[in-house]
């Protein structure tokens, strides 16, 4: 039994933190708000060079062959920095899906390109209904010759405007199947859906008679359900890690502020109303840490309770992070409500991740199915 990180894992976390402290300061996050693409190519290149973009892929595909625990360490740091960019979309959604279900040719084509930063992938997992259950898919794929024609509308597709390929489920006679689509293909339109977290770019993806080749299919026809279930499970834990990072940043900022901000002639941190709130925030953050890394380990190890742990993580951390980041604004008072102060960057990142890959309610229902 060992719930602590190895020396290598600590080294990884420290190097990610150091790089982001240097290259992903709040000023960078703010600069990217007005950038059309929304992320910095210099930092992206650095991420490729440092091996973060290929972290979970096998070495034969230019990856580092590391697990979900390591990936979560990186994602926690990205949340802590409110990193704007397609890391999650490309590495977690695109990369892990292909790792699990891609053909040898698909892996060879895409994984090294993701790892080197030359290609960006994403996945379109929800439609109008916002249902994360793949069975809710309405988009269709109709046979045309050897290939298919796709039609439908996907919403909240992260970083689709810069993606080279989008993984998406569509209904075929065999059931719901997965396809890899170039968003620049004829018949695809990409419309931004700007949200409160400008560092998370979403789009609507409209597919109007989009022709794809037979090689576009990912996994067996009708097999999207189990592939996406496994992907959403990992993505839910990854999103939890990122929320954890944002929450810890908010906690640290609150504690630092409570030590120096004086009212009634004393630091506000000396008042129990503030101190107790900070203590509750720390409890929520530490519990979230346990939830995230237990789930990450369980998925890596193929533990019996891995699926349950993933749902526990997303159900718990979604609400804990919301509470902690919100409490941080409250501790700060007026300054925390200004655009100029950085707190809202992390508050909004946690909020943006809250509904993704199933919100707390979605996962609580899954938990009860496991237990009852």
């Amino acid at each position: 039994m060992n719930f602590s990180f190895s020396d290598d894992q600590i080294l990884l976390r420290n190097s990610v933190r150091a790089a982001l402290d240097e290259q992903c300061r709040p000023a960078h996050v703010r600069a990217m708000m007005d950038d059309a693409r929304g992320y910095g190519e210099t930092l992206w290149g650095e991420m490729a060079k440092l091996g973060w973009l290929g972290l979970p892929f096998a070495e034969e595909y230019g990856g580092a062959g590391l697990g979900l625990v390591e990936l979560c360490l990186v994602l926690e740091e990205l949340g802590r920095a409110a990193y704007p960019g397609p890391y999650f979309a490309s590495v977690v959604l695109g990369g892990l899906a292909l790792t699990e279900a891609g053909t040898a040719a698909q892996k060879e084509k895409w994984l090294p390109a993701i790892a080197s930063g030359t290609a960006r992938l994403t996945a379109a997992l929800v439609e109008e209904s916002l249902d994360w259950n793949p069975a809710s898919t309405c988009a269709t794929a109709t046979r045309r010759g050897e290939g298919w024609t796709l039609a439908g509308v996907k919403r909240f597709v992260p970083w689709a405007h810069v993606a080279d390929a989008v993984l998406l489920p569509a209904r075929t006679p065999e059931g719901v199947s997965l396809f890899l689509v170039d968003p620049r293909s004829p018949g695809v339109s990409v419309t931004p859906l700007p949200g409160i977290d400008v560092g998370s770019r979403w789009s609507e993806l409209r597919l109007h008679d989009v022709a794809v080749t037979p090689e576009a299919a990912v996994g067996p026809l009708g097999g999207a359900g189990s592939i996406l279930e496994a992907l959403v499970r990992r993505a839910a834990v990854g999103a939890s890690a990122e929320m954890l990072g944002a929450a810890r940043r908010c906690l640290n900022m609150s504690v630092d502020y409570a030590k120096v901000r004086e009212q009634f002639g004393q630091p506000i941190g000396s008042f129990q109303a503030i101190r107790h709130r900070c203590a509750e925030m720390l409890m929520a953050v530490e519990n979230s840490h346990a939830a995230v890394y237990y789930a990450a380990w369980a998925l890596d190890a193929g533990a019996e309770d891995a699926a349950l742990a993933a749902s526990v993580s997303k159900a718990y951390v979604s609400e804990a992070a919301r509470q902690v980041c919100g409490d941080a604004i409250q501790v700060h008072g007026g300054i925390g409500f200004t655009w100029e102060y950085d707190l809202h960057l992390y508050f909004k990142r946690a909020k943006a991740l809250e509904p993704l890959f199933g919100d707390a309610e979605y996962h609580r229902e899954l938990i009860v199915r496991h237990v009852a």
Binding site: N2, N287, A372
Partner: protein, 405 residues
């Protein structure tokens, strides 16, 4: 990071489980004498005082082994041993701060439950502000004379001895004038009155000391060191019951699920009601998080690190969780949850709570109110977390500088 149990731990768990299958009392334990017999059997098997040094009768076991024994006992719904304060607090205090003579005199009999112990800390006017305690110990030559009143003394009614905090110097600031003693409860100057709680039972007592006597040889540490000693010993037992606690919660939760399958609203079983499912899902998520956190604390203990103020996070988290859990149990069970006797078997808890032996939901519900008060209320824990972990400034206090009175 590897959250698998080692082959040694798995083998040890099997061994404990097999022992419990062979040795678990067939009949419920009703008397103290019967409990002492059970205690003695556990001790002889090496399952008590496991973390104590070998030279004083302990097993020098790893924290994980201690946690596994407690966990397996919870799984088997085994009766608790007795003398929990003796083994958890008093013994370790004597091991660290006692003289060799004190160790020889007291330790073995704590482990065997030949002598039962209580802790004489809280007073009517010294609860969260424990250091303001007023019970006095006055030098009487070869002994001290003790006068005062203690309250919330668990096991007070059955204890032979008590670990006492008393004021030996009222002229110095309050934290500096307290001394720690071992006091016989079996003497004319000590009167114990059971304290009836909201549960209707009396796990606690009030203790009145009128010219009670403590030999000078029974002073622990130096004069005026009592506060510091009490601080170091408060956290000794943390972690040992961490897994067991969650296992008990899980057993209780499954009993609750059974009830939710039988009970209906508007003709529909509660277990099929999405609102109830949401609440059940939330509690199970929190329960699992408690389990993960317990494993995290055990990792620290296994590495020889003391969680220190981190213990406050653990205690705050599980005690507040337990209240939420029991509130939900009441919500689902409705009036069944309030029955103190005669509940149909389907709506009985049938699982011992950590302290009480009364396996009703009503008892467990009422008892959950105690957890956020005893051993440092949630408010005190949050102060400790804020000051000692987060480094937030202390609240300006009126009582730091001056004399105790």
């Amino acid at each position: 990071m590897d959250l698998n149990y080692t082959p040694e731990d798995i083998a040890f768990r099997k061994q404990v489980r097999a022992w419990l299958e062979r040795n678990l009392p067939r009949e419920p334990i009703r008397t103290l004498a019967e409990r002492r017999v059970w205690h003695r059997r556990l001790y002889e098997a090496g399952y008590l005082g496991m973390g104590w040094p070998r030279e004083y009768g302990g097993g020098a076991a790893r924290p994980m082994e201690q946690a596994i024994v407690a966990d397996e006992m919870a799984r088997a719904n085994a009766p608790a041993p007795t003398n929990s304060l003796g083994i958890g607090i008093v013994g370790p205090t004597i091991v660290v701060h006692g003289t060799e003579a004190q160790k020889q005199r007291y330790l073995k009999k704590i482990l065997t439950a030949e002598e039962l112990w209580c802790q004489l800390y809280s007073e009517p006017n010294a609860g969260s502000d424990l250091a303001s305690l007023k019970t006095s110990a006055v030098d009487g030559g070869d002994h001290f004379v003790v006068n005062g009143q203690k309250i919330w003394t668990s096991s007070g009614a059955i204890a032979d001895w008590g670990l006492l905090l008393a004021r030996t110097d009222a002229a110095v600031p309050k934290h500096k004038g307290i001394t720690c003693f071992l006091m016989s409860m079996r003497q004319p100057g000590v009167e114990v009155r059971p304290l009836k709680q909201i549960t209707g039972s009396s796990e606690f007592s009030e203790v009145f000391m009128t010219n009670a006597r403590v030999d000078k040889s029974d002073q622990i540490g130096k004069l005026g060191e009592g506060w510091a000693i009490a601080q170091t010993t408060l956290g000794y037992e943390r972690g040992g019951r961490s897994l067991a606690r969650v296992t008990t919660y899980a057993s209780q939760y499954h009993r609750l699920l059974d009830a939710a399958r039988r009970l209906t609203r508007h003709g529909r079983p509660l277990i099929d009601d999405p609102l109830v499912r949401q609440k059940l899902g939330r509690i199970w998520a929190e329960l699992e998080v408690e389990r993960y956190s317990a494993l995290r604390v055990l990792t620290q203990l296994e590495r020889g690190e003391h969680p220190g103020a981190g213990g406050s996070l653990t205690k705050l988290s599980y005690s507040e969780f337990e209240k939420r859990f029991m509130e939900l149990a009441q919500e689902i069970l409705g009036s069944y949850g309030q029955l103190i006797d005669g509940a149909p078997a389907e709506y009985q808890l049938q699982i011992d709570t950590a302290v009480g032996e009364n396996g009703t939901w009503a008892y467990a519900f009422l008892w959950s109110r105690a957890g956020t008060i005893y051993a440092g209320s949630s408010e005190i824990q949050k102060n400790v977390i804020g000051e000692r972990i987060l480094g937030l400034p202390k609240e300006p206090r009126a009582d730091r500088a001056g004399a105790a009175r």
